[in-house]
Structures are given as C-alpha cells and as structure tokens.
Amino acid sequence: MASIVKEFTKGLWEEVPPFRFVLGLCSVLAVTTSMSSAIGLGGGVIFVTVMSNVLVSALRKVIPDKVRIAVFIVIIATAVIIVELTMQAYFYGLYEVLGIWIPLIVVNCLVLGRAEAFARKQSVILSLADGLGMGIGFTLSLAVVASIREIIGAGTWFGIQVMPAIYPGFTYLLKPPGAFVCLGIMLGLMNVVSARLDAKKKAAA
C-alpha cells in the first residue's frame, strides 16, 4: 500500500512532469493559453497514461523486446483514439479548440516514457498508481502554466474576467514566444524552490 501511495505521489512533486522530467513540452506550450483547454488536454493525458500503463504492464510478459516500442505505440494510440472519439462525442467545443493536440498525445514523450521506464517492469497496480500520479501531475502543471498565462495575458480565468476591466492584457504571454519564456522562468523558479528544499534537507540531515 505504501508503495502504491509513493508511486502515486512522486508524480505530483518529486518527479512532476514536465518540470522535473522535461517531457511533453510541446503540448504544455501549445494548450496553456486558457485554463479550459489545459484541463481538457490534461484529462485526456490522464486517461491515456493510465490506460497505456495498465495495458503495457498487463502484457509485459508476452511482448517481445524487438517490437515492444511498436506494441506500446499501438496501445497508446488506441487510448488516444478513444479519447479523441469521446471528446468528439461529448465535448465537441473543446475538441475543436484542442485540434491537432489530441492526436498528438500519442507522441507525448511522457506517455511512452512511463510505459518504457515503469510499466514495462512493474505490476499492474503500481503502474496504475504511477500513471495516475504522472497524469495528474502533468495536468496540474498545465493548469499552473495556463493560470499564469491566462490571468496575466488575458485577464481572465476559465474565461471569467478576474482582472479589473481597465487591465490592458499582456498579450505577449498568450503568443508562442511568451509561452516559452513563461515556462522557462517557471522551470528556473522550480529549480530555486527545490534547491532551497534540498538545502533544508541537508541542513536537517
């Protein structure tokens, strides 16, 4: 039980993608212009990581090594298409906004990375916990970046005006160059925070 909790929680801070493992950058940059699209994509990613982790882990004994990448990718792609169809069926507006980024979950290195690094070697339960943790961690990161970009860039959050009406909106953050810089600074801050924590740990030890 403890190990399940550990595998789950490590995705939330210790190994939170994309800040710690710089994985899945493209979608982080692309969909964080607004909170709703970030959460939408995040949901999709959670589903895909969980499903691929579980299936890969379940099949880990029968998959020959030489074709494992191909098999993993088939599994992942299947999960992605399920997400795609489901979104189309029930969240059509979001589907339109996210556009190409839904099929692109398939090449999000986070998903394949977890399959390769974790699910391939661990039990189904642990893989489930890992996939869920990583997926949620990824979604939370998306949400944080999206909050910053949407609030400062447009003055809104989930489309609701949160800044005073006079606020001009710092459009730069909504544009691609702003996305890179915003994420870069956040990674730097993340490093600062974890360096502080490490120092504290060291001082305590």
Binding site: E14, E15, R20, F21, V22, L23, K66, V67, A70, V74, C109, L110, L112, G113, E116, A117, R120, K202, A205
Partner: protein
C-alpha cells in the same frame, strides 16, 4: 458485422503483420553485434528519449555510459534509483566491498604554514600553481583555493575557515574527483576503516619542513619507533601508515612532535 469493424481489423492487422514481418526480417538480415551491456544499461534508463542528457536518446546515452564517456549519473530524468541501477550494471561501485572516503592530507592552515607571497589572480589551485608554483612555501601543501570544493560532484567538500578543505563524510562517495583535480593530490581516498595517517604530503627534509610549517611531518621516525605493530614506515621523510597493520592504539599520536600523525576516526 459493420464494415467499419472488418475494415479496421483488416487494416490494422495488415499493418501490424506487415511491420512485424518487415522488422523481424530486417532485424535478421541486417543483424549487427552490439555490446549486450549497452542493452542492459538502456534497460535501466527511463527510455523516454527526452534528450536531456545531451545524447541522442537513451540508447545512445547507454552506449556512452558503457564506453565510459558519460558518467553513470548522466541521465537527469532518472533520479537516484536509475543511477544506482546503471552503476550496478556497469559495475562501478559493485566491486568495492568497503566504503571509501576522501581525507585531506595536509594540516597547513593559514596560521601554521608559511606563505611565500600574496597571491592575486584566479582563485583556483591549478591556476595558482602556474604563478611561481603557488603561494605556499611548502611545495607539497594545500593551496587552499578550493578547486576540490568546486569540482566535487556531490557537494561533499567545503572550505574551512582555516584555509583547508573539509570533507563532509556523509556525502562523500569516494569517487576520487577531488584527488584528481588537486594539483598536489592533497585529498586522498582511503578506506573508511583506516584509523591512523600522517596528514602531510611533504617529502622535504625535516629541517625545511620545520622552517615553513608547524604541522608538517618531519620524517623524524619517532612514530615508527613508538608503533607496537610496526605499521609505520618512513618514505622520503614522510611517515606512511599501513592500514592493514594499524590497530589504532594511538601510541604514535603522543610521540609526534608536530601532531602530523592523527587518528582519522575522530
């Protein structure tokens, strides 16, 4: 059954079959021997192919690790567990039955060792050596500019107030980086259990050592005489303790006129 189902199954099955066949045939026809160790190391790596290590993908990084070009901790995405797994495959730390740590073999602090001149320039021991051989009169002693400190990959060294580096034994892994970067090889890697050593590197005759340093080994041989286990030899005016023979009785400590011979366990 709906044609969609049949079409999907056919298309995917065909694609899978074709690719599987092509890949297996290619793997057979174009077989190239690869060091199986590379595969083993690659298995330990995350396999995310993120490129964060600077190498093109995990297997490239693994190849570099096996070839010794990359350190076992090159994978930044992996975390400690992966580093350990890689190290285990590479056998880096596997053979060492006993933990080794670095010790500073010099006691020439600001107050006890003489300086020839006031050094001004790059604060790095190796760079300082280029300027008239370094500012310490003793040509074997620690320069105290902290090249070992800045190069320690595990942040296990710090510069003490008296001008000598201090090893934090909790973090030291005995990797030997400090010993190799020091122009005078002051940090030495010893077994954790070694009890006694003369913390000095000077091969100068006693007279010279006495003139320039209060804490150096004079090579007087009093410790040799005092040692009941015959664990101490004098090598070119420097006493050397054989850790195998030393029992840590401490008889030599009192006899040493400069206190160069020390217990390492204190």
């Amino acid at each position: 059954m709906d044609p969609i189902v049949i079409n999907s199954i056919l298309a995917m099955g065909g694609l899978g079959l074709g690719l599987g066949a092509a890949l297996s045939v290619a793997a057979k026809v174009f077989y190239v021997y690869v060091d199986p160790k590379i595969g083993e190391v690659a298995d330990c790596l995350p396999g995310a192919n993120c490129g964060g290590c600077g190498y093109a993908g995990c297997s490239d990084c693994a190849a570099a690790m096996v070839a010794g070009e990359a350190a076992p901790n090159a994978c930044k995405a992996g975390g400690d567990s992966i580093i350990q797994a890689v190290a285990a495959v590479l056998g880096v730390s596997a053979g060492a039955a006993e933990r080794e740590i670095a010790k500073i073999f010099c006691r020439g602090t600001h107050t006890s060792a003489e300086r020839k001149f006031l050094y001004k320039g790059i604060q790095d021991c190796r760079a300082a050596t280029l300027v008239a051989g370094g500012d310490k009169t003793c040509t074997y002693g620690c320069l105290g500019l902290g090249t070992c400190v800045t190069n320690c990959p595990f942040d296990a060294l710090s510069m003490g107030e008296n001008g000598l580096p201090v090893v934090n034994e909790k973090f030291c892994t005995g990797c030997g980086t400090c010993a190799s970067v020091c122009p005078r090889s002051i940090p030495k890697i010893v077994k954790e259990s070694q009890q006694t050593a003369a913390l000095c590197c000077s091969h100068d005759v006693g007279k010279i050592v006495k003139a320039i340093c209060d804490a150096g080994c004079l090579g007087c041989g009093l410790c040799k005489k005092a040692c009941p286990e015959k664990a101490i030899e004098i090598d070119k005016f420097l006493s050397v303790v054989d850790p195998e023979k030393c029992v840590g009785c401490g008889d030599c400590y009192e006899k040493c006129p400069t206190g160069a011979i020390q217990s390492l366990l204190a």
